[in-house]
């Protein structure tokens, strides 16, 4: 996956987040403070605009720039968390102009590790980790079973959607949702929902390319 496709991933994510901003905000209003869609849309629009302006030369530079933009523009907890994830992923890619399926798997794993460390969240806390963790796992399993990058990304996106569904019966233990305790049961987690969108965008843009 080359720099053009990485830029397309960010653009597609920005498009999906914008299209789903109201839905993300509604999910957040149910169990949080009702601004996730607004904030993340502001962050990804800024990230997409930054890519247009600066045209980074490598996939790593794209992800590093996106991370910085998200941290600078998003606010809330999701800005630092997603920003840290993209920056952690960027570090594993270095200067390589073309990213293999194996490299992307390592980048995704680093992103989730960075997010988990900063947010001190683990599986079952009803956060973005509950979509990201199974997605990274599914990506690796698919790759090990012989799938190419696009196939592994598809598996990751599907696992993220299942992970999102799995957050419904969970009780939130992190962030503002945790204040509601048992009242969070029965709702999708907005962070898991936005994580699923990011992986869906990855699957979409990688689909046109043989691994």
């Amino acid at each position: 996956m080359d720099v053009t496709r990485f830029r397309a991933w960010v653009a597609e994510t920005a498009r999906l987040v914008a299209a789903n901003a109201d839905r993300l905000t509604r999910l957040d209003a149910a169990i949080g403070d009702g601004d996730h869609g607004i904030n993340l849309n502001r962050g990804f629009q800024a990230a997409a605009a930054m890519l247009e302006e600066t045209a980074p030369a490598t996939p790593g530079a794209v992800l590093a720039g996106v991370g910085r933009a998200l941290i600078s523009k998003t606010g809330g907890a999701s800005g630092p968390l997603y920003g840290t994830g993209f920056r952690a992923a960027a570090k594993t890619l270095g200067e390589d102009p073309d990213v293999t399926g194996v490299q992307l798997g390592a980048a995704l794993a680093a992103a989730v590790a960075g997010i988990r460390q900063l947010g001190a969240a683990g599986p079952g806390d009803k956060t973005m980790v509950d979509a990201l963790e199974p997605a990274v796992h599914a990506y690796q399993v698919a790759l090990d079973a012989g799938a190419d990058l696009a196939g592994a990304a598809r598996a990751a996106a599907e696992a993220a959607v299942r992970g999102l569904a799995d957050t419904v019966p969970m009780q939130a233990r992190k962030g503002r949702a945790s204040y509601l305790g048992p009242r969070t049961v029965g709702h999708e987690d907005p962070g898991a929902a936005s994580a699923a969108l990011i992986l869906q965008a990855l699957a979409t843009v990688s689909a046109g390319e043989a691994g």
Partner: protein
């Protein structure tokens, strides 16, 4: 949505322009989103920086001035500020004695201030945080993000701000901030929800005869929903929750704070009930504050904050302060 705004996306910037026009004592950086005292940093003084989502006015910008904050960083409405603006404010007010970050315990605020503190450290500015988490409505356990920072934030900013004017060092400021926080407890009650301008719709719903007990300053729910009951019962519920968590005795500072949509007359009705309850429990109101000090847009309701005073804390509370929202003794 019925609000006096020009456009939902411009509320924070427009309000900052208003702060700048109304208060020559402030220097307002609208583009980078921070407010400092007009005179620049005071050499040798520990500087206090706070910030958080907008919509809680006068917190925090209204508390920038002599005897309180050196800078405030307003985020979008109900959204924590970003590291860039916190870093810029921190560097702008550093007088060489270090900078105290006063942070309300919300995940977003904590993460963004933490990132800004690391960046400031890279640039050679000493930064220490004080976390405010006074809200008894949330259990502090591994099952939550911990207690929220609410009314005690105003007390920490005032009392540590006074000590900073008197020359306390950074370590002393941290210890004092923690002491004020540890001795303070708050409990809030909402009668109506509020509407974030960019969302256009209320963040939650309450029936005409319902109240939210233990509400947070963004309208996050707390312990339970209840029926609307007389103010005396509301005050009793709040104080019983506070007293059960940290038994009250001796001299206290009481703040009855409006959440934005409750008239002062009702706040005084609540204060009377608070005074009666405390008197019945042999607690003396030594200092008091009644009004809108940490709000949630147009939400109706109030919060009660009680701080168990020491003579030193009372003295620092009485020390001169000159900010847009709190001023006395100078």
């Amino acid at each position: 949505m019925k609000k006096l705004i020009n456009a939902p996306d411009e509320v924070v910037a427009d309000a900052l322009l208003g702060m700048a026009a109304a208060h020559p004592s402030l220097s307002v950086n609208v583009a980078d989103r921070y407010i400092t005292r007009a005179g620049g940093p005071t050499p040798g003084k520990v500087s206090l920086v706070s910030g958080g989502g907008s919509g809680h006015e006068p917190l925090h910008g209204g508390y920038v001035g002599y005897g309180m904050l050196d800078a405030a960083c307003p985020g979008e409405v109900f959204t924590s500020p970003v590291p860039d603006q916190i870093l810029a404010a921190t560097k702008a007010v550093d007088g060489g004695a270090g900078v105290l970050h006063i942070v309300k315990n919300y995940t977003g605020d904590v993460l963004n201030f933490q990132m800004a503190a690391e960046l400031a450290g890279d640039d050679g500015v000493r930064v220490e945080p004080v976390l405010v988490n006074d809200d008894v409505a949330v259990e502090d356990s591994t099952w939550t993000a911990g207690r929220r920072g609410t009314g005690a934030t105003v007390l920490v900013e005032k009392i540590v701000g006074a000590a900073a004017e008197r020359g306390i060092d950074l370590a002393g400021a941290v210890a004092l901030g923690r002491e004020v926080n540890d001795r303070s407890r708050s409990f809030g009650v909402a009668l109506t929800p509020c509407t974030v301008p960019a969302a256009g719709k209320p963040g939650f719903e309450l029936a005409d005869d319902e109240i939210e007990l233990g509400v947070g300053i963004h309208g996050e729910p707390g312990r339970a929903r209840g029926r609307l009951v007389p103010a005396k019962e509301v005050a009793g519920t709040a104080l019983a929750a506070i007293h059960a968590d940290a038994p009250l005795s001796g001299d206290v500072l009481v703040m009855v704070n409006g959440l934005g949509g409750t008239p002062l007359i009702e706040l005084y009705v609540v204060f009377a009930a608070v005074a009666e309850w405390l008197s019945g429990h042999n607690v003396t109101i030594a200092r008091s504050l009644v009004g809108n000090y940490i709000t949630s847009l147009e939400m109706a309701g109030c919060s009660v904050t009680v701080c168990r005073l020491t003579p030193q804390l009372a003295d620092l509370w009485d020390a001169p302060v000159e900010t847009p929202a709190l001023r006395w003794g100078r």
